[in-house]
């Protein structure tokens, strides 16, 4: 069985490591990027595209909003589902600005993560 692949785009190292541990523990293969630019690079280099993108919004170099804009503009990756994570409270605004399936508020709840990832991972 091929493990489902998740691209995790998150700049904070500690959160990233914890999420990787969680997701791998649930049986997912995780590729990570520390900002939007690295995320796009990884997508363009990937032999196999991920089944889901877990995206932080506030990152240096290229933030989540810009990542989404560029992803949506690229026909090769536009179809990939995105679940957005942020500590920013303006959920509705942010959800409108990005084309995301779901919105996870920080601090994160692991059960919520597990459910949503399962739901939207194609």
């Amino acid at each position: 069985m091929i493990n489902k692949k998740i691209l995790l785009v998150e700049d904070d190292q500690d959160i990233r490591e914890t999420l990787i541990e969680l997701l791998e523990g649930e049986g997912y293969e995780v590729v990570f990027a520390e900002n939007g630019q690295v995320g796009l690079d990884k997508l363009s280099q990937a032999a196999l595209l991920p089944n889901l993108i877990l995206l932080d919004l506030m990152m240096p170099i290229k933030d989540g909003f810009q990542f989404c804009a560029e992803k949506d503009a690229d026909p090769k990756i536009a179809h990939l589902p995105v679940v957005v994570m942020s500590a920013d409270g303006h959920i509705r605004e942010n959800q409108q600005r990005v084309n995301a399936r779901a919105y996870l508020k920080k601090p994160l709840d692991i059960y919520e993560i597990i459910d949503i990832v399962e739901k939207y991972c194609v």
């Binding site: 700049d11 904070d12 500690d14 959160i15 914890t18 999420l19 541990e21 969680l22 523990g25 506030m58 990152m59 240096p60 170099i61 290229k62 933030d63 500590a87 920013d88 409270g89 920080k106 601090p107 994160l108 709840d109 692991i110 059960y111």
Partner: protein, 646 residues
């Protein structure tokens, strides 16, 4: 008493009658026909004679005015006399018994007393010297026998000039003019110096008569008007003409002295009133001046509108803003007072709101509108409050306006809200990690994964948690520091610090982090000792190194120190993404980051705090950098801290 006898009316008189006969009492007078003695009044008394002789009835007149020449000039006199018939044995009237009482003193005394009483009654309590003089003159006019003409001159407070402030009966060329004491008539000068009345035998040439009988008068009596309570100083002069038909006797002199006293009192009381009024007015002016200075000192716009929205009053701040508005239209020379916004071309939508608020205020309601106005330092936000101003009857007669610059307030609120937003975002990051790990451990426990909880693994967990707690703590400390810096409450604890030792310690602490990322640090550091706050300088260096790591693109970092004069120069350089020139100043501001705020994590307080800490030590920091060309932060720190309050 005298007797007229016989047809020729031979006059036989007693000694007492001599006063009436006057100068005609010579050797031939006694027994001369009466007509001789009373020539001037013959027309008057002969009918009385005749009536007594004819009717046999006694007759008399009381206080009769007669003009008699007993002392060589026609003299005003008053007599009461009675005639009664003297009958002979047969009852025929053969003579007239005449009893005369001279009542001159009484009559003249009474009329003079009346004048003085009038002065007492009417000429006091006047509110101005001018009206006091006018009233005195009106009273003097009533008695033109004793006072055929008069002029009141008042000296100024310095006694160097005088002004005619009341006159009747004569015309003087200097009426109404202030005459300098240099040009005073010698009589005035003598009067002023001696404080005694002076008699002038000849009227000055430029004085003209202005009334009946006055033509004949050739002399003037000048009396000083004296303030007995104020060192008996002379406050003016009363010049009067004397009655040509009366001798200038002691009674006359005394009367004129009393007159002058009364007039002086009247003028002094009026002068006191004038001074009191002037003091009240000056105080009022003083209060208004104080108030207007107070309002001019206010940075708020304070103004008063009338019903048409015209500025009836505006303080300095308001005038400045209105002026700036006109200048922007090339109308800087125009006035601002008593004009309304429409005339001065206020922006249309604002003017509409402004005038609506003004109308509401005139209906008695206080209204508040936000407003943006250009000012010498750019467009500012204001809040304008218009309130009704009432008169004593409760009617709204004007509108008071206060417009306050709230730009800084709004900015502060904006900055605060931004800070709170960013802070809550940042604090959630370590919280997220803590929550995730706690939840995951709980889950593993439930699943029974026991080897997850070995002693070794537990130790690591606690260490990880500890790091997160420290991270949270650092964030909170940063926020506190910022708040303290902004409130000027940072106190430094100065001690001797070896910079190279400190840098080594910091790098030691960060060694794990540096190794993990794989960054090399190049040191050009010497052992420089300075007097600084150890904790704060540590904060500065740690911050700069952390930034170099964050933005350094994993390329080597260079740290250098050297001495320049009284300062140590410390530099931390990376070869990372660099900072655009236009951002070089901005990055040291609160909440600013090298890249636009929403994309970089971290509170953005680091460089702000670094800058402030260095400033408090008397030092400074600046950056040399260009986009994508790496950054070099250069710190200048006096070797001996020059404490400066932030």
């Amino acid at each position: 008493m005298s007797v007229m006898w016989g047809e020729e009316h031979f006059h036989f008189y007693n000694d007492a009658a001599k006063t009436i006969i006057g100068g005609r009492d010579d050797d031939n007078a006694f027994g001369a026909p009466i007509r001789v003695h009373y020539e001037e009044v013959w027309e008057l008394i002969s009918p009385m004679f005749t009536s007594v002789l004819n009717s046999g009835l006694a007759t008399w007149v009381e206080d009769q005015y007669v003009l008699i020449s007993r002392n060589g000039f026609p003299e005003e006199a008053y007599m009461t006399w009675s005639y009664s018939p003297i009958r002979d044995a047969s009852g025929e009237i053969c003579g007239i018994n005449c009893v005369i009482i001279e009542t001159t003193s009484k009559v003249i005394g009474e009329r003079r007393l009346l004048m003085l009483q009038e002065l007492s009654k009417k000429a006091n309590g006047k509110l101005s010297i001018q009206s006091a003089c006018y009233e005195c003159i009106e009273i003097l006019k009533l008695n033109d026998s004793d006072i055929p003409f008069a002029a009141i001159r008042i000296l100024d407070k310095q006694k160097t000039s005088a002004k005619v402030m009341g006159i009747f009966g004569i015309k003087v060329p200097d009426r109404g003019l202030r005459e300098s004491s240099e040009n005073f008539h010698p009589a005035l000068i003598e009067c002023m110096n001696s404080k005694r009345p002076v008699f002038v035998n000849k009227l000055p040439e430029d004085v003209e008569a202005d009334g009946k009988n006055v033509e004949k008068i050739q002399s003037v009596y000048v009396l000083p008007l004296i303030d007995v309570n104020n060192k008996k100083s002379v406050i003016g002069f009363l010049s009067v003409g004397l009655n040509p038909k009366r001798p200038f006797d002691k009674e006359y002199e005394k009367f004129l002295d009393l007159l002058a006293d009364h007039i002086a009192i009247s003028i002094i009381s009026a002068s006191a009133h004038e001074d009191a009024l002037e003091n009240a007015a000056a105080q009022g002016r003083g209060e208004i001046h104080k108030l207007s200075q107070l309002l001019d000192a206010s940075p708020d716009h304070v103004f008063i509108f009338d019903k048409e929205g015209r500025y009836r009053y505006h303080n300095k701040a308001t005038a400045g803003a209105l002026q700036a508005n006109l200048e922007a239209q090339g109308r800087g020379h125009e006035p601002t007072l008593n004009r309304n916004g429409a005339e001065m071309n206020f922006e249309e939508s604002f003017l509409k709101r402004f005038m609506k608020a003004k109308d509401e205020a005139f209906e008695g309601r206080i209204s508040m509108i936000p407003v943006a106005f250009p000012s010498p330092i750019g467009v500012r936000d204001f809040e304008c409050i218009l309130s009704p101003m009432h008169d004593d009857n409760g009617q709204v007669v004007a509108v008071a306006g206060v417009t306050r610059d709230v730009t800084d307030l709004k900015q502060s609120i904006k900055v605060r809200d931004e800070f709170l937003s960013i802070a809550s975002h940042e604090l959630k990051t370590p919280l997220t990690t803590l929550m995730l790990t706690a939840q995951m451990r709980s889950r593993r426990l439930k699943k029974g994964i026991k080897d997850y909880f070995s002693e070794e693994k537990l130790e690591k967990m606690f260490k990880d948690d500890d790091n997160q707690f420290k991270r949270l703590n650092r964030l909170i400390d940063d926020m506190l520091d910022t708040s303290r810096i902004n409130a000027g409450r940072i106190d430094l604890e100065i001690e001797e610090v070896d910079i190279s030792q400190m840098i080594t310690e910091i790098l030691d602490r960060m060694s794990l982090h540096l190794d993990t990322i794989g960054i090399d640090v190049i040191l050009n550091v010497s052992s420089i000792k300075g007097m600084w706050d150890r904790y704060r300088i540590e904060q500065v260096i740690t911050n700069l190194i952390t930034n170099a790591i964050k933005y350094g693109n994993k390329k080597p970092i260079t740290i250098g120190t050297h001495i320049e004069g009284e300062n140590m120069i410390l530099s931390v350089a990376d070869q990372g993404i660099g900072i655009k020139k236009e951002d070089h100043k901005r990055i040291f501001q609160q909440f600013e980051r090298a890249i636009s705020s929403s994309t970089v994590s971290g509170l953005g307080l680091g460089l702000f705090i670094v800058d402030k800490i260095l400033k408090i030590h008397g030092g400074s920091i600046h950056v040399e950098s260009a986009d994508k060309k790496g950054s070099k932060f250069i710190v200048t720190l006096p070797l001996k801290t020059k404490l400066i309050n932030s």
